[in-house]
Symmetry: C2
Subunit: 247 residues, 2 copies
Amino acid sequence: MAVAEKKANARDALLEAAEALFTTKGFEAVSTRELAEQAGVNLGTIQYHFGSKTQLFIETIRRVMSRRREQQPLFLDNRPIASRAQAIEELCVFVYSFLESVCHPVGPDVCKLMYRECLSPSTEDPDIFEALVSSVVNEFIRPVDQRLVQIVTTLQPELGADEAGLIAHSVIGQCSFYVTHRPFVTRLRHCDCTCEPTFSAVQRHVATFSLRALGVSEVEIETTLRRLQGRALESDAQRFKKFSQRG
Amino acid sequence: MAVAEKKANARDALLEAAEALFTTKGFEAVSTRELAEQAGVNLGTIQYHFGSKTQLFIETIRRVMSRRREQQPLFLDNRPIASRAQAIEELCVFVYSFLESVCHPVGPDVCKLMYRECLSPSTEDPDIFEALVSSVVNEFIRPVDQRLVQIVTTLQPELGADEAGLIAHSVIGQCSFYVTHRPFVTRLRHCDCTCEPTFSAVQRHVATFSLRALGVSEVEIETTLRRLQGRALESDAQRFKKFSQRG
DNA sequence: GTCTATAAGCAGATAGAC
DNA sequence: GTCTATCTGCTTATAGAC
């Protein structure tokens, strides 16, 4: 489509274009001609700098995923959790921020990339599969999982690692549902749950549902949500947006 | 690959081959030549009977999804729920059976099909998108959602339709997590959660987590799971397998 | 390091014989 | 209704001039 942006460096221009095209359309659907045109470079440049379309894709995955990690320190900064009340608060902040980050990505949509590519035939290439899985796990899933396990074991210190892990899956699963099932839920409910006013209800529900399952009382939940209202949650979302936009 | 099965009818042979190939490899990754070869028919037969590869794919989606619905009446037969105790039991049966059906599909893997195709560029074709979304919602998501809403509103009759729907999302989201995140969780946990002995722990966890969030007491949960152990859950899984295999 | 030109192959769709 | 042969357009990758 649009071409002719200033290019400092053919290699970097290609990586930029690859990021934009691969994350929106997927590996198979993007042709090398399209990549070259978007980057404003010659077709042969891809072979010269990367050797193949596959290798360019792999480098793009690594770049995107490692940037994603830098962009989400907000609810993952592993600030120590001193009290039960703080753990409850951190879980709320986590759910609100994580849902925001997966439903309304500001940069490239890494969720779409990982779900699409992990099911698509491109992953029959073992190089692509390995790059995808290791990048996604190290830069995206593991930090999220670790933070959740930290929160959960503060709330229930008697829990083993396996049980805490399963609880982390339940929280992540509830959130990513709205990404993986989005078109189907939109049709089913006749509204897009990732848009307001439903989105706020979704955030509140996932936080509440998870806290109830963790044995937190209604009073504690209400108090925390009211305390956070208009303060930490919003400021955290703000911080996320600001941080992401400068990335 | 393998060819030369007896073909009663070229059209049916093509639909059979299309089901096998499209569900395992996806729309883009299957060529018309491959389809014709697998079906043991001539290449031109596809155009003659279906007009295009796209139309053959759409008919395949409809066929697969409507068959899927017939295969899962077990936890969706909408048998009336008379008591709170029965609602708790039905939720357990639902979670165990639903997880089994999505993690260990006996026929074509409809989950893989829907998640892959819904993110892939094939859905830029509005005909494919419409066929996919309406089939998935009508034959797969809505029955599951309705059953869950029925169970949840028995447990908490004061709930509105929106809140009950959000709880249904939470249950489905927890289950489908193990499908959509399977390769990543396998790497993260160094074991495949869809295989024993972890799979049983997952089933038990999702049921317990959801019931706790619905305010069901530990005693009620324990009693129900113990009662179902070796009886309803297993027999329901058996029924599912038997029913599916004859499909 | 970047360019043009082209190779080699596969895609979906079609024309026309039978 | 099924076949063969072919058309047109696309893909990735490469060879060689500059």
